[in-house]
C-alpha cells in the first residue's frame, strides 16, 4: 500500500508525533511544580500546532491522492460521482482528530 517513500514518511511521522507530542506536553506539565512555567505554555502551544498542522498536511496528501484517482474514474464513469465525493471528504476526519487533539493539548 505504501510503495511511495514520501507517503511512508508522512504517515510514519504523523503517527509518531500524534502519539509522542501530547505525551511530552503532559510530562512537561506534570514535571512542573511552579505555579506558572513558561516552558509548559510553549510546549503546549507547539504540540497543539504540530497536531493541527501535521494532521492537516496528512489529510491534504490523502485528498490529493484520492482526488487524482477520483478525477480519473469520473473521466470514464461519471455515474460514480457520489462515491468519488464521499471518498474525497473522508480524510477530513484526520484534520478533525488533529483539531480535537490540539484543543485537548492546549486545554
Amino acid at each position: 500500500m505504501f510503495n511511495n517513500r514520501l507517503a511512508r514518511k508522512v504517515f510514519g511521522s504523523t503517527f509518531l508525533l500524534t502519539m509522542l507530542v501530547p505525551a511530552f506536553a503532559t510530562a512537561a506539565e506534570a514535571a512542573s511544580t511552579e505555579p506558572f512555567d513558561w516552558r509548559v505554555s510553549v510546549t503546549k502551544a507547539a504540540s497543539a500546532g504540530a497536531a493541527m498542522s501535521i494532521s492537516a498536511m496528512s489529510a491534504g496528501y490523502a485528498q490529493a491522492k484520492i482526488g487524482t484517482a477520483a478525477a480519473g474514474t469520473l473521466a470514464e464513469r461519471p455515474e460514480v460521482s457520489v462515491w468519488a465525493i464521499t471518498l474525497q471528504v473522508l480524510p477530513e476526519v484526520i484534520v478533525l482528530l488533529g483539531f480535537v487533539s490540539a484543543i485537548i493539548i492546549a486545554g
Binding site: 510503495n3 487524482t68 484517482a69 477520483a70 480519473g72 474514474t73 473521466a75 470514464e76 464513469r77
Partner: protein, 364 residues
Amino acid sequence: MSPEAAKVRTRPASGKEYGYANARLRGMRSRLFNRAFFDNLIAAPDIKTLIQDLTATEYGPDLEDALIHGRDAATIEAALKNHMIRTYQKVFSFLNDEGLYLVQTLLGRWDIFNIKTILRGKHIDAATDEIVEGLLPAGQLTAVELEALAGGEDIKTVIDTAVTWGLPFAGALREGYAEYLETESLADLELALDRYYSTWATQRLKKRQANSRLALSIVRMQVDTLNLLTVLRAAKESLETEVADRYFLEGGRDFSKSLYEELAAMSDIDEILDKLRETPYGKILDAVAIEYLSQNSISVFERSLEDYLMRHALGLAKGDPLGVGVAIAYLWAKQNEMTNLRIIVRGKAVGMPVERVRGELILV
C-alpha cells in the same frame, strides 16, 4: 522510430504518478465485454444482428464510420482495428512518462509483427491491400507509414525504405536480408527481427524498478514462447540440431540455452513435453497434447502459449494498484477483446459452427 512518428502529447501526469491513469484504466476496463456479451454475439443469427449489437457499445462510432463502405466482415474488422488504435492512443495520452516508456517498449512487438506481415506478404507476392488488411498499427509506426512500407515492390524495396527512414530495426533487416538471399527462407529475416526486438526491449527495461521488472517479465516470456515454438517445430519437421540451435533467442525467463539445446536434440514431441514438465510451460502444453495429436499442427501449442501469456499479462492488474501492471493488463485485455470480436465476425461471415467459434476465443 521515424521522426514523423513522434507524437506531441499533452497529459496531466508526468514522472511516476499512476493514480490518475490507473483509476481511468479501471473505469475503461469495466466497459470491456464479458463472457455473457460474447455468448450473445456468438448466438447472433447473422452479421446484421451482430452489427446492431456492437453499434450499441463503445465500438458504435467506429462502426458507423466504417459501415459507409459496406456491411461485410472486412469493413467490421477495419472498424474494430480503428477502435483499438484509437483506444491505445487515448491511453498513451494520459499515461505518465514512465508508464508510456514501458508500455511503448512492450508494444514495440507490434512493429515487429507488422514488418513480419509485410515481409511475408512480399515473399508470397500478395497484393498490397491484402497485406494492409493484416496490419495492426499499435506500435510506434503509424498506419500511413506501414501502408507506405507495404506498398514496396518487393522485400528489398521494403528494407531499403526502412533504411532510408532510419527505422531502428533497419540494421537487423539488412543483416537478415543477406542470409535470406542465400537461403530464400524468411525464417532468417524473422529471426533477425526477433533478435533485434528482444535485445532492444531487454536493454530498455534493464532498470531495477518493480515496474520495469514487471514489463521485462512479459518480454522474457515472449522470448520463451518463441524458443519453445522453434524447438517444437524443429522436432515436428525433423530439423538438424545445428539448424535449430541457430534460432535460439537470448533473454528468456525459464528457458536457458542448455535446456534449448537439450530439447533441440530430441526428435520426439512427447519426449520434449516430458522434459518441459520441469518448467512452468509443461502443464499448459500437456493440456493440449491430445488436441495436437488429433490436429497434428504446432498452432495448437502456439495458441495455448499465447493464452498463457495473455492470462499472465491480465493477471498483472491484480498486483500493485499504483504500478504499470494495470496499464499493461488493460492494453492486453483490449487486444484480446478485439481478437475475439474478429474471430466472431469472421466465423459469422463464413458460417462457422457456434461451438467452433467459441473454442477459438480466449475468454478471461
